[in-house]
Amino acid sequence: MSDLPIERQKRGAFTARLGALRKHVPILSPALVFILIFCIGGLLFKNFFSARVILNLFTDNAFLGVAAVGMTFAIISGGIDLSVGAVVSTSAMIVAVLNRAGAPPIVAIPTALAFGAGLGFLMGCVIHFFKAHPFIVTLSGMFFARGFGYVLSWQSVPIGHKFYSVMSQIGIPFGGYLKLTMPACIFIAVALIGYVIQRATKYGRNVYAIGGNEQSAFLMGLPVGKTRILIHTISGFLAALGGIVLTFYMLAGFGNAAYGLELEAIASVVIGGTLLTGGVGSVLGTLVGVLILGVIQTLISFQGAINVYWTKIFIGLMLFIFILLQKAFMLSAGQRNK
């Protein structure tokens, strides 16, 4: 029997119950939003409510999704990675250029992955050892990667190797001629692996701890530096993977690819329920966030007549609302603890 005074017991139980609910709010709401938008689409357009639309969502946004998973870890840790768009694009370019030079996929793909991971590793080191702001460091990483891509080839480089076109076509059949394509599979696989990492590995939990309170994490003896560097290495690796996925359906590498991808990734992460201040979030939420972005695009393309600019406005508005909600959520949590 607890010796806590009655008031405190009551307060403890009540906040515990509310708290349990609260824990899931950041993740439940994006799922609800997705369902809502999907239903609106279904009401507005005849062919919207179909498996094809959903499967396409996964395929079309696979490269964004893979990169966004990496971004999720960076943001949960309280940092950010602005280089993902550039790394996606340049990795695709590396594959394309190596392919043109006669290298088989077994050489081209790991090289691109190494590039992404290597660049991420370097950025992580600069951020940790020089105590530099992740914003500026990853910004220059973005310049570097993008520039490197242009140096490799100013023009777009087609990829002729059968492997890549095959990869874009194979998939898990879903009845009829529908299938979950390879890019989609990779996306889902990465998200699931990411979930396991965030939930069941020490590294994953350290990421949350650092994002929650870096000073405390340090004092608790957690390996802050190693974790930081690993976060950026993984983010770079996943961005490169995203680039490879991109080659599967672009079947080419070109310097302008994925412009603005980092912003879409950040938007997906935030809409998916991860707090930009760090410490709270989930890759599953990001997955939903990516799907939300995708379904908005799909809605708009179904409409046809409306110009593409509405996408940007919608996304911006969503971001705005979600951020306000996050702020309100945090404020009320703060009040309770006073």
Partner: protein, 358 residues
Amino acid sequence: MSNKEMGAQTGEVRQAGARNINPVVWSALSLAVILLFNLIFTRGFFSITIKEGHLFGSLIDILKRASPTLLIALGMTLVIATKGIDISVGSVAAIAGSVAALVVRGGDITYLQETIHATVPLFPVFAFALLAAALCGLFNGFLVSFIGIQPIVATLILMITGRGVAVLLTGGYVLNFDHARFEFVGTGYLLGLPFPLILAVGVFVIVFGLTKLTPLGLLIQATGGNTTASRYSGVNTRVVQMLVYLISGLCSGIAGIIITSDVRSADANYMGLWLELNAILAVVIGGTAMTGGRFKLFGTIFGALIIQSLITTILTRGVQVQFTLIVKSLVVIFVILIQSERTREFFAKSRRKITSTG
């Protein structure tokens, strides 16, 4: 001597560990190095001739092209000084430019694809464009200071939405126009110098004046240096933040007007793209730290000029355009390393080792 005695001695005033070289001097020197390089290796770099009644040459070109970045960087300097950041500037420029183009075309949105020869008075063009920019700035300021959203997130919203709005305004088309007096803003010359440069200098003078002749400079430094202490001293940190975002918005608006006027069109999809990155770079290279507090407007000027002259140098040396990005990234990293505390600590330790008597 014992620790106690040493402690007593240093008890009064502590000298800074390593003498900090003024970052503005650093950036001025870097610019000088770049120019020197060109002086030696690029023929005719410094030649300035008079053509068509105005100055002409590589240097003049650099000054003109740097103007939009410089303008935005001025506003950005103040925002960064309050520990904030404004990544919406490119989109705000696009909005302002689109509004300007619309008004120049007489508010005619029906024949969006055609070029319109217009004689609309200048005042409404500027007024509406700057009003739009000001509203954007106030929106950012409101989100940051009253709702308390992190600056990068708050301005991210406008960055994404703003571009959509700009494209909405132009209907997705590139708006062309022909308006002699408006074109003067981007392509004209005053006193022999490009008008954009004159504008940029003018805005610099105004902003500089504001920070020196009113309490604004002091309040910005205090707010960014220690927000809590500022509040304890009665500073209205909210108003200060609103103001800096407003100024940033206005600067972006003017930049947008210049860009539109220069190319006699408004392409909402591409106008001002990535301008924010160049602006932030200019500010950081110029010596204003991202941690906020002290800001150096003069340093920002050097920063913008360094970026522009680097690009021009690279191009005139025949190095392909693709390398400019890589060079930019290396410059940034170099600056970060120099400015980083670790590096300073490292130098301070080596100094102390040399001068200590053991």
